[in-house]
Symmetry: C2
Subunit: 354 residues, 2 copies
């Protein structure tokens, strides 16, 4: 779709800080907001009517904007931030790097449910990075002490059945995972409460004084082309059908290799009814979450992959679980993915190194 | 220069997070880095040989990246951050909004020089926003307790004589003020120390996982066109000569109006020798820093402008000084600037409201 999606910006366009001073998120391009709402309506993965949209420099920034919005003005103690393990490896670092007095990382949400006290924020990442599971909040029965952030970066039809239009207080999405344009650093939040949307926008103002308009316009254009194709049924194969097919093929080949060499196992995902496709379908996550089959907990699967086949994964310990787990991206280009499978197929046993 | 600067991006370009994993600032486009170095060499406003370049989402993000780099790992107490008043109104907020345990805003650098103690960071904004003065560090004789950040957003020939190639530990610049493209949210830092550059890059990774590649490429293109013109002398009027002429004309008209109605005064700026133009020239700051002439300190000049002539300025109290001062942007488009002057010329005295 390279040509249809080509973006042209003249030297004098998009120069101002301001997109629309009459709206809460004054640095958001109106075309971007429209495109986001339209894309969600086409896919049916999130409720956007009567919701506020906030644009961010990737969902990374929006996660931090949400923490700020839910904790400012701050109480005497920082609010605990938790997520069920295995949790996305960037949450701890993104929460704690500035040693904020507003919030602090408090680890696994299951653990907090059992032993934690006080006000908290639970991040629900669904489908979950690294393990691809569809998730719900874990911490229960805390009255109004808890707030939720739903990180729905991977809740798109190429990765998962769309089981319902998500309808939570704060939902974050990203251009990176919806269409693959990570380099543009564009994310957005769908927010129920006006005051939360205002504070998130204020955070982004203080953090980066807005979000690249060049990239907002490019995202709007590309989302528009995808939606137009669904409206006109003009393509031989529509965007999410195409990307889902690629993911399905990769997963089929991956499972063959993993089953054959009996060194790692992969999660099994139940089929669910997908409202978008109208079929019972399987999830095809963006990551392989590999677990070493040997029984000792001490096996370092990241080290095995690196040492034996020179493949870079991310160890389970970064996600709050044992290092017998390792996460490998399946979203590389075709050549890199083929190399990965070829090398993975050469591993026969962990103990003898190969 | 609209056509020469037109940017075309196809649908499949600039999709990855990564620009160059072999460099410290792995999310920086090589073309952007090259363009930045070339522009500084053409203008002569900063030493870039043997320096690291770090790209950021505007200089706003780079200011915060520098605070992080200079204070992490954190000591028992947050480090004091100071700047000589009148200081840029965004520094206090950008320093304190997350209640970081690493650093905290401590106000006026002159005050800190007299009464402050302990480790500190001084931000030197030169030419200074709001008052346009060329500045040097204010806090003296503290051994190695102090670190400096030089915010050189306005150190370009349209605003000021280039008195020397700046050569400080951390210098920040922005696309917004060099060419006027605020909407792209592109800034860069020129950094002497490798470890500081690494930490600043790490901050940007944790804050926004990189910087829009669309905007980096657009900035590279536009800077390249400007530099090519200086190389070939192809334009009737080169970029900085053109923009300087616009600023000079605005200042001449502004001073006429201000002198005539005798309500406000403007700073006088000494002529300095400009290495870029090879002439003795006057500064033409991006802001009018107006001071009410009435002697009472209580006069609220922002209120006067808003109430009498419906002009939005920013009060001196936001910059750490009396509210008889008000800052008005001179970087608006021609029509808005003309309106401003027309309305300003109708103010005859503050006390009777008009």
């Amino acid at each position: 779709m390279e040509d249809k999606c080509t973006m042209v910006i003249s030297g004098s366009q998009l120069m101002s800080y301001i997109s629309d001073f009459t709206t809460i998120c004054w640095f958001m391009e109106p075309e971007f907001q429209e495109a986001v709402r339209r894309l969600h309506r086409v896919v049916g993965n999130a409720v956007v009517d009567d919701r506020y949209i906030v644009v961010g420099t990737g969902s990374t920034q929006l996660y931090q904007a949400a923490l700020y919005a839910l904790t400012s003005p701050g109480g005497p103690e920082p609010v605990s931030v938790v997520s069920a393990s295995p949790y996305y490896s960037a949450y701890p670092e993104e929460t704690d790097y500035l040693r904020s007095g507003l919030y602090k990382w408090a680890g696994d949400a299951y653990e907090f449910d059992k032993n934690g006290t006080g006000p908290y924020i639970e991040v629900v990442n669904s489908p979950n990075n690294p393990d691809g599971t569809l998730r719900e909040a874990v911490v229960k029965n805390r009255g109004d002490e808890g707030k939720l952030i739903h990180d729905l970066a991977y809740y798109w039809p190429q990765y998962t059945p769309i089981i319902r239009p998500a309808d939570h207080d704060i939902m974050t999405f990203t251009f990176s995972k919806s269409t693959g344009h990570a380099g543009s650093r564009i994310g957005w939040a769908v927010v129920k409460d006006k005051e939360v949307a205002r504070k998130m926008s204020k955070f982004i103002e203080m953090s980066t004084l807005g979000v690249s308009k060049d990239s907002q316009q490019r995202a709007a254009k590309i989302m528009g082309v995808i939606c137009d194709d669904y409206k006109n049924f003009k393509s031989d194969e529509l965007f999410f059908e195409h990307t889902r097919r690629v993911m399905a093929e990769r997963w089929e080949r991956l499972r063959q290799v993993v089953d054959r060499n009996q060194v790692f196992s992969l999660p099994k995902y139940p089929k669910r009814y997908c409202l978008f496709s109208g079929e019972l379908i399987e999830p095809y996550p963006g990551f392989a979450w590999l677990e070493a089959k040997e029984e000792e907990e001490e096996i370092d699967s990241q080290k095995v992959l690196r040492g034996c086949i020179k493949v870079q994964g991310r160890t389970g310990s970064r996600f709050g679980v044992a290092q017998k787990y390792v996460r490998v991206s399946l979203l590389s280009n075709e050549e890199v993915f083929n190399q990965f499978l070829e090398r993975l197929s050469t591993i026969n046993s962990i103990s003898n190194g190969h």
